[in-house]
């Protein structure tokens, strides 16, 4: 036997090392003390002590999404695990590979309502891709390696491994990853079916009004998928739109890029979605934020859907040609098939289509008027982009208006530089995510574009940033309202602003100082540029409080229950005062 003997806690450290993990985000507690003791006695694994377990998961998400690696979390039993649930759900919705190790009471106490006991596998079953409770130390190595494999392959997602304290103390045999057999029941399909590729290629050959609709699946597949996506665009000259999760998969400065699609997408993106005749969905999932009213969604198009997850096919929208597989492999096969067919776009038809799109683009749907007195939130974000475009910049966001403006106005040229909570819409995501990104990229500029309401949800993580001297910049677009709630109340609830105004906000400059960071405030449009420059110049963490127009709404907007061609372009648009349908009212 070549098996190495060690205790469970040492096995955890060993397995993380063998999986190439260099950093863990966590918070200690009674049930995981053996692991913390083993951590203390080694040097290769770095531990980042967060201030709340939710922050640990978001930090791991930021780390994972900016590196393409698996993010690792270590928390204790009971409240440690339950605090992690929001982060796990967030990672599940946005397909982020996470392995979360949770402590558990010793096996003989499970089910006894012991101190800090929670049914962690029960609670996390619906919010993880898979989870495990390890009851025998000799299963531990296999389970840990399998957990990493499940988290990063197929459609990535969070995996929980629940570790009873007695298992961490028990001595057993360690097995390295290469000795672990892959389980028969988990075999994600990565190679596309050639017949489907042929059908897709045939459809693309004859497209007259085509549109690529790219999502986070391109980025999750890796840099090669992004490169192939660009190649396909060069080959076809088709227009491309991206989802919130897909931003950066194609350079925003490219003429063929139409901007964000969906509820707050550009006019040209949404009308192109509505009017196209062939839609090629690459790694997106027809989320309700993208489709609007499903019955009116892109009514005349044939739809190709490329996805690694078979359950994404026909979930919301009826698909004509589903292609299951890893995006990079599918795109490679598709490019090959098009070349074999000597593909040449239907130039006259495509020129006509582009002319139509350019007409929509001329509406300039992201336009805003910046006056001399009050800072428009869009202006602050646009300037932030302009003044950071020349350097390696990673952006995270919280959730709400500022997030949508960031998605609209920040021009991402590269993948892996944009971290936002898309599916779950988790306020409080941005700061811990920024910490995770900064840990992975110590020399880069990492900015959390935040709202003043969202930032307070995980503000305690400032303490983490300061402890590890992580120079994250928190750029608060402060309108003193939960802006998106206020916007919906204005548009849908007769401007009755129920509980969406935050009285007694903290002085963010003093708050930053209290944590040992820098605080800056900006209230005049003419000061925005200097404030941003100062923020960048300060070597440590900074909170920037930008006082913006309280009444500004995020446009364009597809009202809930409406179709893409029924979007509201701005406050002057007469449809903005029109009633929302009854079905629309009940939608979120």
């Amino acid at each position: 036997m070549s098996a190495e003997q060690m205790n469970g806690a040492e096995m955890v450290i060993k397995a993380l090392g063998d999986q190439g993990v260099d950093v863990v985000f966590g918070y200690p507690g009674g049930a995981v003390l053996p692991i913390y003791d083993a951590l203390f006695q080694q040097n290769h694994l770095r531990h980042i002590l967060v201030r709340h377990e939710q922050g640990a998961v978001h930090a791991a998400e930021g780390y994972a999404r900016s590196t393409g690696k698996v993010g690792v979390v270590l928390v204790t039993s009971g409240p440690g695990a339950t605090n992690a649930v929001t982060g796990l759900t967030d990672a599940l919705m946005d397909s982020v590979p996470i392995v979360c190790l949770t402590g558990q009471v010793p096996t003989h106490l499970i089910g006894n309502d012991a101190f800090q006991e929670a049914d962690t596998t029960g609670i996390t079953r619906p919010c993880t891709k898979h989870n495990y409770l390890v009851k025998d130390v000799n299963d531990l190595a296999r389970v840990l390696h399998e957990a990493f494999y499940v988290a990063r392959t197929g459609r990535p997602g969070p995996v929980v491994v629940d570790l009873p304290k007695d298992v961490l103390f028990a001595i057993g045999n360690y097995r390295p990853p290469e000795q672990v057999e892959q389980r028969k029941s988990y075999r994600p399909q990565t190679e596309p079916d050639p017949a489907r590729i042929a059908e897709a290629a045939d459809l693309i050959m004859h497209a007259k009004k085509p549109l690529f609709y790219g999502g986070g699946g391109i980025i999750n597949s890796g840099p090669r998928a992004c490169k192939l996506f660009g190649e396909l665009m060069d080959m076809t000259g088709f227009p491309v739109t991206l989802t919130l999760m897909g931003l950066g998969a194609f350079p925003a400065s490219d003429k063929r890029y139409l901007g964000l699609v969906g509820m707050h997408g550009t006019y040209e993106s949404n009308l192109a979605m509505h009017d196209c005749d062939v839609m090629i969905n690459v790694g997106a999932r027809f989320d309700d934020r993208v489709t609007g009213r499903v019955s009116a969604f892109s009514p005349n198009s044939k739809k190709i859907h490329i996805d690694i997850d078979p359950s994404s096919i026909n979930k919301n929208v009826r698909i004509d040609i589903p292609v299951i597989g890893d995006t990079a492999k599918v795109l490679e096969a598709l490019i090959g098939a098009l070349k074999a067919r000597r593909f040449a776009p239907d130039r006259p038809a495509l020129a006509k289509w582009w002319k139509e799109i350019e007409g929509w683009r001329k509406r300039d749907s992201l336009h805003f008027d910046q006056g001399d007195t009050i800072i428009k939130p869009q202006y602050a974000i646009e300037r932030l982009h302009a003044l950071t475009a020349d350097r390696e910049t990673f952006i995270t966001t919280e959730v709400g208006q500022h997030q949508m403006w960031a998605a609209q106005l920040f021009k991402f040229e590269k993948p892996f530089h944009w971290m936002t909570s898309g599916g779950l819409g988790t306020m409080g995501y941005g700061l811990p995510a920024a910490i995770g990104v900064q840990v992975a990229h110590p020399d880069a500029l990492v900015v959390d574009i935040a709202g003043e309401a969202s930032i307070l949800m995980n503000i305690q993580e400032m303490s983490t940033a300061c402890q590890y001297r992580l120079p994250v910049k928190i750029f608060i677009v402060n309108n003193q309202y939960m802006g998106m709630v206020r916007q919906w109340q204005e548009l849908l609830h007769g401007a009755r602003y129920s509980e969406s105004y935050t009285a007694s906000l903290p002085d963010f400059v003093k708050l930053a100082e209290a944590f040992g960071a820098h605080g800056l405030r900006c209230t005049k449009p003419s000061d925005v540029d200097d404030t941003i420059r100062e923020m960048i110049a300060i070597p440590g963490p900074v909170i920037v409080d930008v006082a913006v127009d309280q009444a500004e709404n995020c446009f364009p907007m597809i009202p809930s229950g409406a179709a893409h061609n029924e979007m509201i372009l701005g406050p002057a648009d007469k449809r903005s005062s029109g009633p929302v349908s009854e079905e629309g009212m009940v939608l979120v």
């Binding site: 898979h130 389980r183 028969k184 029941s185 988990y186 078979p310 359950s311 026909n314 979930k315 009826r318």
Partner: protein
Amino acid sequence: MSDIERHAIAVLVDNEPGVLARVIGLFAGRGYNIESLTVAEVDRANNLSRINVVTSGTPMIIEQIKAQLSRLVPIRVVKDLTQEGACVERELALLKMAGIGEKRIESLRLADIFRARVVDSTIETFVFEVTGSTEKLDAFINLMQPLGLVEVSRTGVVAISRGAANF
């Protein structure tokens, strides 16, 4: 809606703790129907259990159910027996009858027609065992109702495809 279909789905799973909870949680969490569900180990050597689910929904929902089931890590195979052609569906029921005299005799006579067997008997009670399709069991139970039926226990549907095809 008019296009609701009933499907018998067989699921072969790794027999491990929590696997049934995953399946049931999936149906509950995503709002799918469970008309009947049975589970038992079928292959001890390979540690496999079989779950038979009878569900209903539009064709799009049925497709989703199968795709979502396939996504669960411990699930090996998902087979739509209804879609794949003819299948045999059977259910077993135990019925406790109470009573004496004419009703008792009549219930025994009907039991004979349905090929139900008496598996327990006292002076005043019987337990019938009957197997068959869900419809046959429904019919039998309805007939027994006025004849002193006091308790029913049913297994739910187990199903298997006809012909040579197998998992």
